[in-house]
Amino acid sequence: MNPVAAVGVVGGVLGAGAYALAVLDGAAARGVAGMPRRWADVVVEPARDAALLALTRRSTTERPDAQAWALAPGLLAAMAGAAVASVPLAEGFAVADVADGIVLFGAAMAVVMVGVYLHGWSANSPFPLVGGYRFIALALSYEMPLALVLIAAALPAESLSVGAIVASQAGSWNVVRQPLGLPLYLVAGMGLAFWGPLDGADGADLAGGTAAEVSGPARLAWELARRFVLVAVALMGAAVFLGGWHGPVLPGAVWMALKTLALLALTVAIGHRVARVRLERFVVVAWAVLIPLALVDVFVSGALAL
């Protein structure tokens, strides 16, 4: 695809996805809190918050690593963009249908760890620092299950390309063929975007963690970038586990959008229902339970694919 069109498409997907995510989150929060609010307000709310952040001054700390601090949200957003580019948005329409799509996704998501750590480290402030280190513990734990469930999905497709993985789900979706895949993927994906129960890096107990010292445009960039990552995760999940563009009646792109929104809604709902997990415990569970389960997923999927 021509680079300009590619940028336009990915930008559109990320922007629309992040906005939809913010609206869903606002609606869910109001629902759980029992605060009725006009729909119009809920829909405009994220734009208002963003506008306020854009009008607020950026603050800084005494002696930050300014360049690394500025880079962090850009890194997250760029990696989310790379991941979105590798996902086919409709049959035969991927921005960059890389033959090793899930490796590209894995690589992009590994670099996300760098971004979050830098965001925590650079402020030279205690709470962001602890948040950054928390994220590394989280990332080292979820990365294996994330890669393994994607490999399991690649087995029946005989290819690492996301397009091929979606095409291989013409008969039945991976969520049915590989029932372990989607739950494990969602746990890892929520960790990736430090969302809901796995938000230790930016948790309330650290006064916002890595984001405790950012304000104004820098905060806006960070919140956007983080949502971009979750959108990329949901998009990839919709393609790899929910059959991507496959679906009756409606066009493929609409199905992709609906499935992505469904996954986003699911993560939002989990975020408002499940308390923050103690990372110390999550690490043990990830290695002793999630990784073995992911390996079982790989072998069962493999045996079924033969």
Partner: protein
């Protein structure tokens, strides 16, 4: 190579777009006083720099990750040829994985996954 060119364009453009928030007129922290730049401690004042020899307590797990990361990389090419190669591939990979799961088992048994 074309998909990579598109991906590269996307990476650069999204990254730069988010970085561009730094050029918003409000993004220049001009003329901040020293107290405005003090790190937040709930009203308290810091004595020392936060940058320090930070004691991570998951270092054993981090070392385990290094080895496991390597293993995972072998699985990608394996996944591509798996159906083609059939049972042989399944058995070979099973052997490989069992060896590595022994590593996790050992780590778990030794309590290395728990934080120091």
């Amino acid at each position: 190579m074309a998909p990579f060119a598109a991906a590269l364009a996307v990476v650069l453009a999204t990254g730069v777009a988010v970085l561009a928030t730094r050029w918003l007129p409000t993004a220049v922290p001009s003329e901040l006083t020293a107290p405005e730049r003090v790190p937040f401690l709930g009203g308290g004042l810091p004595e020392v720099h936060a940058w320090s020899r930070y004691h991570v307590r998951y270092y054993a797990m981090a070392l385990l990750f290094l080895a496991f990361d390597m293993e995972m990389v072998f699985m990608y090419p394996w996944a591509v040829v798996f159906v083609e190669e059939g049972v042989l591939a399944l058995i070979e990979m099973l052997m490989f994985i069992v060896i590595l799961v022994l590593g996790i088992l050992y780590a778990w048994r030794e309590g290395a996954l728990r934080w120091a």
